[in-house]
């Protein structure tokens, strides 16, 4: 270990008071685009958590929901791959929103549909500040989630009519 000598310590202290480059300061701020990407990753984690919980609570919904869950996992993979991990900032790995799953299967499907619809709106709002390729990824995922809304709505209608 290096020990500060009586002659170098004052010099070090004097230098550290200077307004030079902040070599030893905290991590650089995360850019707005990266911040948005990290939020998109978290949003996918939250949807995946809801699908897993719903499928665990209502096993009969598994065959219908598994393909949609697989697409969310693909979204998460593609979004995570776009993150250049900022120094001092971890890429999210767990869900941050864990709502109680509805007490009925139809209610749980409606809950998923509403979460998907909300996710579409959030992604579309992220287009303006994104790079062209990231905007295309957001738009494609938003479109995928819009088709999930359609699929879930159809499933809810089917369960109400008994089909």
């Amino acid at each position: 270990m290096l020990a500060a000598s009586p002659t170098t310590l004052p010099l070090f202290l004097a230098l550290s008071a200077c307004k030079g480059p902040a070599v030893l300061s905290g991590p650089a701020p995360v850019s707005a685009q990266t911040q948005t990407l990290l939020h998109a990753v978290t949003a996918e984690l939250n949807l995946i958590w809801m699908y897993n919980k719903t499928m665990a609570a209502y096993s009969g919904l598994g065959p219908a929901l598994a393909p949609l869950l697989a697409e969310h996992q693909a979204h998460l993979g593609r979004l995570s791959a776009r993150v250049v991990e900022p120094p001092g900032k971890k890429v999210p790995g767990t869900a941050t929103a864990r709502p109680a799953i509805d007490a009925t299967a139809a209610g749980a499907l409606a809950q998923l549909r509403d979460a998907e619809q909300a996710a579409v709106g959030v992604l579309l709002n992220r287009l303006a500040g994104a790079s062209p390729s990231l905007a295309q990824l957001y738009a494609s995922i938003a479109t995928s989630e819009a088709t999930h809304v359609t699929t879930l709505t159809s499933r809810i209608s089917g369960s109400r009519t008994g089909s």
């Binding site: 697409e71 303006a128 905007a135 295309q136 738009a139 494609s140 938003a142 479109t143 995928s144 088709t147």
Partner: protein, 146 residues
Amino acid sequence: MKSVKAAEIAGLQAALAAEHAAVYGYGVVGAMLSGAAGSLAHADWLAHQEARDNLEQMLLRLGATPVAASPAYALPFPVSGAASAVRLAAFLEDGVTEAYLGLVAVTDRTLRSFGALAMQPPANRALAWRGSTVAFPGMPTASTSA
């Protein structure tokens, strides 16, 4: 919209070309289907005509000459019955979705938003024809199953 550049015009023209192709393609699809599927094909054909007309108006307002439809289009595979007609419908919708995704890459915020929203109807029609969703509508891998 007056400051829209060449890239934006090109994106709109590509979307229009895809809509022209879809209008033509649904003529083939509709000829092979009857009953509920035939009615669905007719409704989708009308939707593409409406989208085509809208894009033409947008281009005219920007001072551009809308690209014309080709007299005929090569089909991606032989269409000889209901099953291949349904596959063609899904293929056409994938093509239109992909064209609108191209618009999302432009810098003009209004057109970017327009392109993203315009992806949803063809993606939902593709879902109706294919019976399943895809993870990345409009991205090149989405149409590999067509």
